[in-house]
Amino acid sequence: MFPWNYGFHWTAATVIFLGAFYAVLAAVAATLLAAALRSRRDVRAHAVEEIRWQSDFDSLPARDRLCRHAITGELAGRECPNGFDCRTCETHTRLATAAVLAATRSIPAMREKPEVEIYGMNYPVDRLYHRGHTWVHPASDGTLTVGIDDLGRRLLGGADAIDFPQRGARLRANGPVFTLRRGSVRVRVLSPVDGEVVGAHFSGPAWFLKVKPLNGGFDLRHLLSGPEIKPWVAHEIERLQLALAGDAALPTLADGGIPVDDIAAACPGADWDAVCGVMFLDG
């Protein structure tokens, strides 16, 4: 094995054979070491939640990774390559600019007037919406109000417990913002924005967070707004129908009515852990 071992000879066969063996071991050890060092760097850079989201996003079925512009009908079947973060997406920038220039007038979904009530649910147009069922409302003091949207609220009905982030906690878009619990179901709700939590507010059964920007201002280009909301909600109801379709259930019509107030209570046989995971994009 080594020059000091009994029977070792400096021959071509020995050098080639042992050289290949040590090269393999070195490659495997280097791979492990590189992964360990990169992991340490990620943990120190507080990139854990970003990595969790990347991992969760990559494991989503193709139809759940649909681009916002595919949902509105602008692009056919395009999958989002950016983890729903349109801030770095050239296609979105191009299409958003085109929309501003009124080129989107020819797209039926974009022609419709933004509605407050969509399929019986409340989606105010002065808010921006995240794909994980949270909304954002810019306040006059430069902060944002962050809450859970109407479909998200109906999915869990009355949650048994809500874990809010601490005041001063830093949020990352697509990182966790709330953790909701109902029965044995525990679901992480994704933050729609980057920011720092300045307070939590309760108004009857409703609750929301106040968030201030980290670096001067918010970049909200990745959030859905105006005429995008209705096709997205329709898409979400379709996803909900699919998620609810357990092995023994019958197919259901996507447009047979409007969502009930407490969907979980109306469908006690459904696998709510799975349904909430799908709808809130939580792993």
Binding site: S39, L253, P259
Partner: protein, 436 residues
């Protein structure tokens, strides 16, 4: 507790049912451990091998499962190096199968060597001119690679992902997996080949001896080719079995088709090469060594039927079946073809191991027969049970088939829509909706 460990959105049987499924395999595994323990404690006199019949059931098992386990390296090579993206749906399962096969093979080798405490001797005092040394090095290194490839799959478990260190390590290791795929391909190429070469260089056994290129006898290349050919078939077969046993669709139909096409193509090349090699051996290699090839097949039960079965029945026939789209389109035929392909290569390993040693070489040699002892069979069964246990537990708690959630819904809607004749009146309104 158990439910928390199962991936979101996939259905698994109850813990009780799962326990009942595992129980017989655990019993078999314990029996096998006892058998192996006897061999280790009392020596190889517990087996029916002797100084003449030195390779028995265990080496046959090793060769067979290493060939079938080639699906791991070959699938990883196709996915990460050649970018055949459809195979992402089965890569995790392929890695687990590879890990099971190679760890089982190494465990059996440790029992077979009989002195496991001295197993490190082969690394410290290697005979660099021996094909077996290359096999030992490559198999142990590849098992290490497979264990590292298995690690991210384990760390993706739902609960383990909650640990930040595990989550980022899994993520970073997965990003480097193409390095491991490349190393695994290099190692597999050589150990599959060396296992074949091991027989091909046996000048004293003209039944196995073959000519070849430079250092390598033709069996070196035939073993590589046959392992690469049946690897995808074995992945197809195990995926289908997992679907049948669990009662769930796990992958899209297209994945089976891709696996079958790759397997069929390589199997056709292998059958052609094997046929050519056999013709050269019958007409030149063996007669030059003083043995007409027909002589090997005069010893019952090893008649010419075994050659026909190996090359035609379980070689050419499944290759054609896997290559014909109309046959591939029917799951029954597809699975039968994959099973036949796997059986063909297992038969080849049996022939190379058992028939090689059984047929007489010297004029005073008798035809040797060998039946494994119950301790050998027990150890063999332990490896099978170990494989089933590891795969079952992995299937339950790890995401072996990433498309499972998606495929379940697709298959559900396809089936139900067909059943209801696509008439909207036959559909119910979801209980999550109320009338407007």
């Amino acid at each position: 507790m158990d439910k928390d460990l199962i991936a979101r959105g996939v259905k698994r049987c109850s813990p009780r049912q799962f326990g009942m499924w595992l129980a017989p395999w655990v019993a078999l595994f314990v029996f096998g451990l006892y058998s192996a323990g006897l061999c280790l404690a009392k020596g190889l006199n517990q087996t029916n091998m002797d100084n003449r019949f030195v390779f028995g059931l265990w080496i046959f098992l090793d060769l067979a499962i290493i060939a079938l386990g080639a699906g791991a390296f070959f699938t990883a090579f196709l996915l990460y190096v050649l970018k055949v993206e459809e195979l992402r749906a089965v890569i995790n399962s392929a890695v687990v199968i590879g890990f099971v096969c190679y760890s089982g093979a190494v465990a059996v080798l440790l029992v077979d060597v009989g002195q496991p405490l001295r197993s490190w001797f082969t690394f410290w005092y290697p005979n660099v001119h021996s094909m077996l040394t290359e096999v030992t090095f490559c198999i142990s290194c590849y098992l290490l690679v497979l264990a590292i490839e298995y690690l991210p799959i384990v760390l993706r478990n739902r609960r383990l992902r909650d640990v930040p260190g595990f989550l980022v390590f899994e993520h970073e290791l997965h990003k480097l997996v193409y390095v491991l795929a490349g190393v695994g391909t290099f190692l597999s190429f050589f150990h599959q080949g060396s296992l074949g070469g091991l027989y091909g260089v046996l000048r004293g056994r003209p039944f196995a001896f073959r000519e070849g290129l430079a250092l390598w006898p033709s069996t070196f290349f035939l073993f590589i080719l046959s392992a690469a050919a049946v690897g995808p078939s074995f992945i197809l077969l195990t995926t289908w079995l997992a679907e049948k046993i669990s009662g769930k669709r796990l992958v899209r139909r297209r994945v089976f088709d891709v696996l079958a096409r790759i397997s069929g193509l390589l199997l056709a090349v292998y059958v052609a090469a094997k046929a050519l090699d056999t013709l050269v051996w019958i007409n030149r290699t063996s007669p030059e060594a003083g043995f007409p090839a027909a002589q090997y097949y005069s010893w019952r039960p090893f008649g010419t039927w075994i050659l026909f079965a190996e090359i035609v029945l379980f070689g050419l026939v499944p290759a054609v079946m896997l290559l014909v789209p109309r046959v591939r389109a029917r799951t029954g035929w597809l699975v039968a073809a994959a099973a036949m392909a796997c059986f063909g290569v297992v038969l080849n390993r049996f022939v190379m191991t058992i028939q090689t040693l059984a047929v007489p070489t010297l004029s005073f040699d008798p035809f040797l027969s060998y039946y494994p002892s119950w301790q050998e069979v027990g150890t063999f069964l332990a490896v099978i049970a170990f494989g089933v246990l590891v795969y079952s537990i992995s299937f339950r708690y790890l995401r072996l088939f990433p498309e499972e959630r998606e495929v379940r819904q697709i298959s559900f809607f396809t089936t139900e829509t067909r059943r209801h004749g696509e008439n909207p009146k036959n559909f119910s309104v979801s209980p999550c909706l109320r009338g407007e």
